[in-house]
């Protein structure tokens, strides 16, 4: 995955947040990155297919009886709050002891939370019961699974990618290590053998340059004539044609 892939996928993610629409995704299909990236093209097509599928589903409706019960319960809750507020207003007018209202609210809080949770559970149960009554289009499960495939396999792919990067890093380290080794061994002598006189054997690379080391004074002197004299026969012959 390249940096462009990442940019494109960030844009796609932004469009998928909230309530995505097919129109929004269609706008992304003009993204320049898609011209050269088959993976991202495929990903966008899957997302578009999923959105089209979701858009084809009927809007869920609550049964009338359930709606009535929910509204009734909400009204009851609202009535309790209204009564409490009135009571608190009265307490204020009758110079109720300080902290009375706060104390009452604190005592009521757990009860109110439990009641809200029970209500939410009941509503969810009803909604789920309702889903069972809907007619599901043929092949929907397969299409949904296919659309979700990138997300389902993402962790495995991430793990595989991590291994790949780890292997690349290992190889890179081995490469750098070898470069270092070559330099270290060519820069200085690493005598492992002994010469005839018992002293450490000289570095073969230094021996290969022994001519230079022996002729150093001649080659490095100020007089340029010595260097000129080292012109080979072929190069010397060419001087005649200048």
């Amino acid at each position: 995955m390249t940096g462009d892939c990442r940019d494109f996928r960030a844009a796609l993610e932004a469009e998928l947040l909230g309530r995505p629409s097919q129109e929004k995704l269609a706008g992304l299909s003009w993204h320049a990155h898609l011209l050269g990236c088959a993976d991202c093209r495929e990903l966008l097509e899957k997302e578009e297919a999923l959105e089209a599928l979701l858009a084809s589903l009927p809007e869920p409706r609550l049964p009338e009886a359930l709606a009535r019960r929910v509204l009734l319960r909400l009204r009851e809750d609202r009535a309790v709050e209204v009564r409490l507020e009135k009571l608190l207003e009265l307490g204020d007018a009758a110079r109720a002891p300080a902290g009375l209202a706060a104390g009452i609210l604190a005592r009521l809080a757990p009860e109110r939370e439990a009641q809200a949770a029970r209500l939410a559970d009941a509503q969810l149960e009803k909604l789920l019961d309702l889903d069972q009554d809907l007619a599901v289009p043929a092949g929907l499960a397969a299409r949904v699974l296919s659309g979700l495939e990138p997300a389902r396999f993402a962790p495995a792919r991430r793990a595989r990618r991590s291994w790949t990067y780890a292997a690349a890093a290992g190889l890179l380290l081995a490469f750098l290590g070898r470069v270092w080794w070559v330099r270290a061994h060519s820069a200085g002598p690493a005598p492992t053998e002994l010469a005839a006189d018992g002293s450490p054997a000289p570095d073969p690379k230094m021996l290969a340059a022994l001519d230079v080391l022996e002729q150093w004074d001649l080659l490095m002197q100020d007089d340029v004539d010595v260097l000129l004299s080292t012109l080979g026969p072929g190069d010397e012959a060419l001087l005649d044609y200048r």
């Binding site: 340029v224 000129l228 004299s229 010397e236």
Partner: protein
């Protein structure tokens, strides 16, 4: 994406396994085992001080660029070959005197002789170098010179060699395709082609005009059997011995120039004869003797205007020998005709 990643990993793996030993390759070009063995034997003959000095120099050598190291290796190889030749010659002529000297002393004497001879060869060649190249080499630090020198050689091989092949090919009446093929050879091979064509031209000249003066048929045939590079060197030495005899220009007279040439030549026998003196004193004595010989040759041959002859005594050694060099090799009109090849023309 996976193939790209796989290719990336494969690339790293391959480069890890095959990373070239660049420094080793540059600092020490692959040498045949005998060369390395010879170096090892020479190393073992070094005194502890010499070994220490060599190690210190090796550190400086490694700090140089690859280009400089390659040129220094090439130049040092030529100096070693010259050293081996001088050793061989001394072993023939001065074997008895040399056998009385300690090995280190013998090596020091050989070094002196090689240095002397190298300066003489360089003095001859400098007259053929382009002035701007020479000026740049002289101004450069010794460490940088090798780099400039190498670039000059490469430039010659790239441009001059193509021209030379064209000229020699025409004189040998080679087909245009053959000339073009040789002109497109890589640098080293192109340079060798020039030497090969010069040798063929020399052979053709002899067929047409007869043997060079003083050379027998057997000797000429033996020369022709040599590889082009060795043929060039042998022929160059012969040519040097004849250059002043061939000069027709007057003044200066060929005899006077030849006398100056002989007076200025290094004489290895002198170095051996003065072996007991400290190196500095020996060098000073040899230089003074050579100066005296050259002054005599310059005066007797009237090779300089009277005012310049009078001023000779006031010159330093360096200035004096610079004058000798100018008279011999660097005059506006070279004392011998340089041509494109062939023994009689040269």
């Amino acid at each position: 994406m996976i193939p790209v990643r796989a290719a990336f990993l494969a690339l790293i793996a391959v480069s890890t396994l095959l990373v070239p030993d660049r420094q080793g390759a540059a600092s020490a070009a692959p040498q045949p085992v005998p060369a390395l063995e010879s170096a090892r034997r020479r190393w073992e003959r070094f005194s502890p001080e010499e070994k220490e000095r060599a190690k210190e120099r090796y550190g400086r050598f490694l700090a140089m660029s690859e280009e400089e190291r390659e040129q220094l290796i090439e130049s040092a190889r030529r100096l070693r070959e010259r050293t081996e030749r001088v050793q061989g010659e001394l072993a023939g002529k001065d074997a008895q005197r040399l056998s009385t000297l300690a090995p280190e002393k013998r090596r020091a004497l050989v070094r002196e002789i090689v240095a002397d001879e190298s300066r003489a060869v360089g003095a001859r060649l400098r007259g053929q170098f382009p002035e701007d190249v020479l000026a740049r080499l002289e101004k450069a630090r010794p460490e940088d010179r090798a780099r400039y020198f190498r670039r000059f050689r490469i430039q010659q091989r790239d441009r001059v060699a193509r021209y030379a092949i064209g000229e020699l090919g025409k004189r040998l009446a080679l087909p245009a395709d053959e000339i073009r093929r040789m002109q497109e050879l890589p640098g080293d091979a192109r340079c060798e082609a020039v030497l090969d064509l010069r040798k063929r031209l020399s052979a053709l000249d002899v067929e047409v005009s007869g043997l060079p003066p003083g050379i027998t048929r057997e000797k000429w045939d033996a020369w022709l059997a040599l590889p082009p590079e060795e043929f060039f060197e042998v022929f160059q030495r012969y040519h040097e011995s004849r250059i002043f005899a061939q000069s027709k220009s007057a003044p200066p007279s060929p005899e006077a120039l030849r006398a100056l040439f002989e007076a200025s030549r290094p004489r290895p026998g002198e170095v051996v004869a003065l072996a007991d003196l400290p190196a500095e004193e020996r060098r000073a004595r040899i230089e003074a003797d050579r100066r005296e010989r050259c002054t005599k040759a310059l005066r007797e041959g009237s090779l300089l205007p009277p005012a310049e002859l009078e001023a000779l005594d006031r010159k330093t050694h360096a200035e004096f020998f610079d004058t000798v060099r100018r008279v011999l090799w660097n005059s506006g009109h070279p004392p011998w005709p340089r041509r494109l090849g062939g023994p009689l023309a040269r």
